[in-house]
């Protein structure tokens, strides 16, 4: 467990150091058909949140917290697929944040400050979760706790970015 947490912490810190030290490009990226990079980011983050919600629901079913019958065999692969896709769609968002905008260190800019912290922590927590999944020596409580932490960070990230965007630019703002 300590190795997993250490690995995750290293990833989170390295991302933060990059975001802090790299000179922000301040440039837009591709838009994937959206009207702008920020629109694309807001929607990809929303997709990641939706996949995260799906993952939690599927996990509750896998752990027998929802439903009384045994979980179907396809539930595990679909759960993994949702988590993997959530990571995949988050990558362009994180890339633009880190490369173009950088890490906000001014706590007075609360939204950006906490978004920066949550973003780095998310990838660190994701690493911990993957290591928990792969390891056979983890305590039973580790995976649900780390998974819940990852989900909480997704919510925090969405609230400090996409929600802010939709409130300022209107919905759906494709």
């Amino acid at each position: 467990m300590l190795v997993a947490v250490g690995g995750g912490a290293a990833v989170a810190i390295l991302l933060g150091v990059y975001g802090r030290e790299h000179d922000p490009a301040g440039q837009a990226l591709f838009t994937l058909g959206f009207s702008g990079t920020i629109n694309m980011k807001a929607w990809l983050a929303s997709v990641a949140l939706a996949l995260g919600v799906g993952q939690v629901v599927l996990a509750l079913r896998l752990y027998g917290k929802i439903g009384s019958s045994p979980p179907p065999v396809w539930l595990g692969p679909v759960h993994r697929l949702a988590g993997t896709l959530a990571l995949l769609v988050s990558l362009p968002v994180a890339y633009h944040c880190l490369w173009s905008l950088g890490f906000e260190t001014d706590a007075g800019q609360a939204r950006r400050y906490f978004h920066s912290l949550f973003g780095c922590a998310f990838y660190g927590a994701f690493v911990v979760k993957v290591m928990c999944v792969r390891s056979r020596r983890m305590p039973g409580w580790a995976l649900p706790v780390v998974g819940g932490f990852v989900f909480a960070l997704i919510i925090g990230l969405w609230l400090t970015s996409s929600l802010w965007f939709f409130q300022n630019s209107g919905f759906p703002s494709f």
Binding site: A28, S35, L81, L91, A94, W99, R112, S169
Partner: protein, 118 residues
Amino acid sequence: MDLSGIVRGVQRATLFATAAFVLLLFVNEPSKPPAVPKAGTENLGASIFATRCGSCHGSEGGGGFGPTLGGGIVAERYPDPADQQAVVADGLGSMPSFASSLTPEQIQAVVDYTRNDL
């Protein structure tokens, strides 16, 4: 392909994308904008907009990463040009400060351009 095969394929693609993500963070150097035109240059505001603002706000001010400025929208949002000049100088949200890279005269020129010519 069965479901497990699909999951493995997506996991491989994600691993590749993650590697590309890390690599691009270090090798994708931002393109440097052209030099800022000097004061007295014809269409100074338009030149500054093209070199400093268009990449985010769109070459015609129609928006992109940054919000739309053209069509009188920016003048509606900032009825007092001084407020808009302050935003350009100090930055706002994701927009960087231009106080160290543009002179007050250049800021005024680009603000006038966005209000009157976009």
